[in-house]
Amino acid sequence: MSCSENDSRRRWLPHGLFLLLMGAFLLAALSRPVAAAEQPVSFVNDVVPVLTKAGCNVGVCHAKAGGGQKGFQLSLLGFEPQEDFEHLTKEGRNRRLFAGAPDRSLLLLKASGQMPHGGGVRLATSSEGYALLREWIRQGATMDGESVPKLVAFAVEPARGTIQRGAEQQLKALAKYSDGSVRDVTGMALYEANDKAMADVTDRGLVTISDIVGNVAVMVRYQGRVSVYSASVPLGALVENLPSSKNFVDEQVFANLKALGIPPSTVCDDATFLRRVTLDIGGRLPTEEEATAFHASQDAGKRDKVIDDLLRSPDYADFFANKWTALLKNRRDDASDTVSNFAFHAWVRDSFLANKPYDQFVREVLAATGTVIGNPPVAWYKRVKEPKEQIEDVAQLFLGVRMQCAQCHHHPFERWSQDDYYSLVAFFSQVGRKPSGTRGEDLIFHKRGIATATNIKSGVPLRPAALGDAIPEIAADADPRLKLADWMGGKTNPFFAKSLVNRYWKHFFVRGLIEPEDDIRDTNPPTNPALLEALEKQFIASGFDLKELVRVLTQSRAYQLSEVPNQHNVVDRQNYSRYYPRRLQAEVLLDAIDHLAGTQTDFANLPPGTRAVALPDNSYNASSQFLRVFGRPEAESVCECERVQSSSLAQSLHLLNAAELKAKLASPTGRAERLAKEDKPAEAKVRELYLAAFSREPRPQELKTAIDYLNEPGTAANANYQDLIWALINTKEFLFNH
């Protein structure tokens, strides 16, 4: 459409409407200081941001996969402007846009709610966004020409800062274009805090800090670009009398606490430490003998020795195999999965027992070949069959990067494009399969050929590339998966070690330095970057030694801090100024109850006495209401979030009166029965129970209460002991690692 045509049309506009439009342009100009009202409206630079800000092109609305909404499709967050333009101008029987009467355009009628619209009112007729779209339509709804400047950079101001609790901070979003111009796009950008409990942010970029101290980030997005505002929210209390640092973990944690003014709690007592570390490394409670010996020991290094003992024990291997097999989807869907699931679980368990370096462990999974029995990690390829699923799992589990979005469009929060996605897929494009002698199982091998994967959008076949890193050309004979493993295990890999140390940090410190632990991105910064970097370096330097990492974490004073808050740090949720108590996970809790009750849970076809943490797969959940109620995962996801750690009424009821629990308490071979029959003082028996449950002696009042109860007349002795054990099980001290 030519300028003269535009001019002639403008002459026919009603006077009032013209004034309104001019007003809208003036409003728009406030956010586009460089853009002049007389200039043509840019589809890419003006229209698409309006659609994005209004939420028209989010996944649940018109960017929904498979056709958008009601036949109107937009690209997600406007990442494909050309496609959006086509949808707007060439579909919908040309009803979407009427240049002659812009207000009659379906786009505006629906968006403003003048016609029924499932998405509600997205743009009021008085809004600047409405005016901008209207003007673009009026101008003929054209696509940008070559001369229209392109967005080249985006930043938020300020990028970081220290801000007090309860304070506000207005952010400013600035877009820079190829002609050198800069626009203030604060009103058009999208804002999201990584910890909503710490910071609230309006759609105009006004950040309000809550009363929680620590570090918080606000992600600001505009036109496929992302910037981050990082705020440090100090408490400002005096930090003195810090525990002496055991290692670099303490140095970094305490430095952060000092900077934030959060005084840490004291170091926990021996009983708490022994119970905590045994649960965290061995997935079990300490035995009475272990607790007694630990308390009796005068060795200054006894805590370190316990850690070493636990790391040497098969309990460590069992517990961490339990963690990893769920993430590696060792799931039983059919009885014919039994052998492969047992084999894979056992391989994982043996790998931890032998302290196989983590990079080697991952290499053996990624590049597995052969049969499941001959090489158990092949079982991963039984569960994760398609290359896309393979790279998505690998990226999330081993690199902490969520690539799923980039399969269909540019990642909304990250730098990953579809090319990045399919370049990663290419690593798995030469995985060959042959039928094996076992029904449902394939032999896995490298199929000779040049590895490529085709970007479904562009149709371009892509060679393997690893998240932005170029990989030297891979010959047809070489298994690309081995090259991927080489890249992952490289000393400078920015994801691999970071992802693991963060995952393990969360295991021991309850909260990841980055949360969620498998969503590492520039826009989700760690709460203590220096600590994460130090851990990463240590892990790489140790040769990816998992036991050494556990040693470093658990030997630190930071890990050994008491869970009891002081007058200041009760508001701390992320700086590790105290230990954050956590409910025992399903398997550990079941084992702990068996330990205290002196019973065993019978699992089908497994030897009596098999611990719940040593179960090879999810199939036992079906027969154990306890494991289901307490959230044991079904191994369907690589996300640790599949394990439900939240509390529920069902859990409380289960602990209070489930038949399963009653049967354990009343077991004829159980601890209650034994204690009732045993000829020794009641005091000794109560001491035994407290050592078994809490790894500590009973306090005088506890001892008195317990003995008084046991001595109550009219009740059978075994029933009294059952009641006492039941009461101990139902304490928070028992149910939580603290």
């Binding site: 391989w347 053996e364 597995a368 070949t369 090489n375 000779r448």
Partner: protein
């Protein structure tokens, strides 16, 4: 819900029931019944092996071996005798086995001779270490069994349990723990763990390998053994060896049976040791190992992702045959070869792919491991290599050899042998019991022993791997058969890979056993050569292929036996003389039916086996008729003139009766016991009356006689009860049971004459 809806639903259900019912009735003849008449199977021997130069008591168990009277071994250095009790009577299922001092170490086949004939085999190991036997449960640390270093324990795994052993270790001592399971026919997938004295795991082996353990400190160490999924029972036995070996010496494993596909290795005349060893580093082109052809190289796929690169010069027109063995050694490998022509210009190279070699395909379609049988479960092929390399131009060639399964595995035991030779045409042959395509999960028929009933013909499926372009006929023959048994080979025709061997027992063949020799004969390069045919079988009968993965293996020998006491349910007898037909005409073959059993169903569907006629359409015969006829249309089959040997076969559901002779004997015994009881009854009555009438002084004597007679009466009553019980059991056992029998006719010789011109 309206009445109409109910009615519609009812009609639909009725229709479904009718359809299903019809289908079931059509297939019920062969569906979900056991397949194969009872066959004697030796399933376990305890112990499973012995030391050379020793004598050991062996207890056996199995199926249909209750009446076994002889335990035999494939090696003459092992002799046996029945174990006698204190009264000098043979104890059931017990034998005294003597292993001569010069008996070869390794696996030998153990079998028993029964009324049904020779049983299936069970591997029996002969070694040089001391032997021990697990005599009581050792499933806890407290009950751990003491095991001396340099000894082997024979044990059976308990379900849902872990067996514990304890040995004394010296600091620095190198202890090898080896556990024989699958290689001695056990179903056990063993997990072997060495733990410290309090049972805390130190090292674990789960893939059938050994534990190579250097003792860290003096003291007791625990060995734990369990099944991967904690299965157990009689079939899950093992031999656990704990031995001391000097540091740095290669580990010598316990002997093991051979996988089926190992029949094709080695090529005829190959030296025991290769001429050359691969020389690392030879992993890339700059370090390629120079060789000249022909060559014979030993190497290993080590370390992980190892690629061995060789370079050689070759001339245009040369044809070389490339063979690699690794998987056929029983190793979990998948060798792969790429040959490229190298054209060098200065420092640059132009590589042109010349050939890729991977698997040796199975010559016949292998089972898809489904419920229904759709091919033999024995893979005669291999993931090894056997291929032809044609040189199209003079120059330098580069060959790279890698293990497709070796990307992440660091195991120097994964060795290979690479042979590149000029054509040396030859053949390797293997056979197994023929099974039919049935919608039935029972696979017992594929593992039955060559224990023939009188009047039965058993078919063996024979498969050849042809080497280096050999393409001629392969005739099949068996010798050393017992009296009354004949063997007819349906040859492997030129260019084909499959033949059949029919082993027929005459109806009157006496009970006997022979050690068969099975071979193939071919003319290669103008010379007649004879090659042995190896026999393969499952290690265990498999009644449900859906639930169990078979582990087939090769056998050391081929015994053939005749029962002499049981007979085939039916014999289909064609004329003995050669049947002549002119090419293009139809041939009618009369079949005489000799029935010795009742059958379910009236029709027997027959197919034809044998080159030239195996595409003949299936045809029906009335099973209860005394004779029938087969019509073969040589025009439709396009059978060229020549001599042929064929047979007909099909599945029939026999109403099998187990030992009806025992019913007769039990009836006799019961009748006799009743008569004895009756006689004693009369005597008691008589004596009682006499006692009543006896004078006072004779009374005590008379009462005594009554008392004695009453005791005898009690014994006679008990004898009647026992006899009645035996009769009941024998009658129940002899009740007709539907069993699918694979009926094979006696062989038929056919001459197809050329039509007159």
């Amino acid at each position: 819900m309206t009445a109409f809806v109910y009615y519609s639903r009812f009609r639909w259900m009725l229709l479904t029931a009718l359809i299903c019912g019809t289908w079931l009735s059509m297939t019920s003849l062969l569906f979900a019944q056991s397949v194969g008449l009872p066959a004697p199977r030796l399933l376990t021997t305890i112990p499973m092996g012995a030391k050379v130069g020793s004598q050991v008591e062996v207890t056996i168990s199995g199926e249909h071996i209750d009446d076994a009277d002889e335990l035999t071994f494939s090696d003459r250095h092992i002799t046996t005798a029945r174990k006698l009790n204190a009264a000098g009577q043979p104890e059931p299922n017990k034998y005294v086995v003597t292993i001569a001092a010069d008996c070869p170490v390794g696996i030998h086949e153990a079998r028993v001779m029964t009324r049904l004939g020779i049983s299936s085999s069970r591997a029996f190991s002969v070694g040089t270490l001391d032997e021990a036997l697990q005599t009581k449960a050792n499933t806890t640390l407290a009950t751990a069994m003491e095991l001396k270093v340099n000894s082997i324990c024979n044990a059976t795994m308990t379900q849902r349990a872990v067996d514990h052993y304890v040995f004394e270790g010296r600091k620095g001592q190198r202890v090898i723990v080896d556990c024989a399971t699958r290689g001695i026919d056990s179903k056990l997938d063993a997990v072997v763990i060495i733990a410290d004295a309090v049972g805390r795991d130190l090292v674990v082996e789960r893939r059938g390998g050994t534990l190579d353990f250097t003792v860290p400190t003096d003291g007791k160490y625990v060995i734990k053994v369990h099944e991967l999924t904690f299965k157990g029972g009689q079939a899950y036995y093992y031999r656990l060896a704990v031995s001391e070996q000097p540091a740095g010496t290669p580990i010598v494993r316990m002997s093991s049976t051979k996988p089926v596909n190992s029949f094709s290795w080695p090529p005829q005349g190959l030296k025991e040791q290769a001429d050359l060893a691969e020389s690392e580093p030879n992993n890339d082109r700059t370090k390629a190992q120079k060789i000249s052809l022909p060559c014979d190289i030993a190497g290993s796929f080590f370390p992980a992702a190892d690629v061995d690169v060789f370079e050689f010069e070759a001339k245009k027109g040369d044809i070389w045959w490339v063979e690699v063995a690794s998987e056929r050694f029983g190793l979990p490998t998948d060798p792969s070869i790429l040959v490229q022509h190298v054209a060098r210009t200065g420092d640059t190279e132009k590589l042109t792919d010349v050939a890729e070699f991977s698997d040796i395909p199975s010559p016949v379609k292998v089972s898809s491991n489904g419920y229904a049988y759709d091919g033999p479960p024995y893979n005669a092929g291999s993931s090894d290599i056997l291929g032809k390399l044609e040189i199209k131009e003079d120059g330098l060639y580069r060959l790279q050899l890698a293990d497709l399964f070796g990307g992440t595995r660091n195991d120097s035991k994964n060795v290979y042998r690479l042979v590149i030779r000029k054509a040396s045409p030859d053949v390797a042959i293997v056979a197994w019991a023929l099974h039919m395509e049935l919608r039935n999960g029972d696979r017992n028929a594929v593992s039955k022993p060559l224990a023939l009933r009188g009047g039965a013909t058993m078919a063996l499926e024979v498969v050849a791997i042809r080497r280096d372009g050999f393409d001629g006929d392969i005739d099949l023959a068996m010798e050393g058969l017992p009296e009354g048994v004949t063997a007819s080979g349906l040859k492997i025709s030129a260019g084909q890979s499959r033949g059949l061997m029919l082993v027929t027992a005459n109806q009157n063949a006496p009970r006997a056993i022979g050690s068969g020799t099975f071979f193939g004969r071919a003319t290669i390069n103008g010379e007649v050569v004879t090659r042995p045919v190896r026999l393969a079988s499952y290690a265990w009968p498999i009644p449900d292929s859906w639930g169990e993965i078979p582990s087939p293996r090769l056998f050391a020998d081929i015994p053939v036996s005749v029962s002499g006491l049981e007979f085939a349910p039916i014999t289909l007898t064609p004329p003995k003389e050669v049947q002549s037909v002119t090419a293009g005409e139809k041939l009618t073959i009369p079949l005489l039916h000799t029935r010795r059993s009742e059958f379910s169903g009236a029709v027997l569907q027959l197919r034809t086996m044998g080159a030239g006629f195996d595409r003949a359409p299936q045809f029906d015969v009335q099973i209860n008729a005394d004779q029938s006829q087969a019509v073969l249309d040589t025009a439709a089959l396009k059978t060229p003139p020549g001599d042929y040997l064929i047979a007909f076969y099909g599945g029939a559901v026999a109403k099998y009766r187990h030992r009806p002779d025992l019913v007769v004997a039990a009836e006799e015994a019961h009748k006799k016991a009743m008569e004895e009881l009756s006689a004693i009854d009369a005597e008691v009555k008589k004596l009682t009356e006499a006692a009543k009438a006896a004078a006072t002084e004779a009374k005590p004597e008379a009462d005594k006689a009554v008392e004695a007679a009453t005791v005898k009466h009690k014994a006679a009553t008990a004898a009647v009860t026992a006899a009645a019980d035996r009769l009941k059991k024998a009658t129940a056992a002899a009740a007709p049971t539907d069993i699918v029998d694979i009926v094979v006719s006696e062989p038929i010789a056919i001459r197809v004459n050329a039509p007159a011109k």
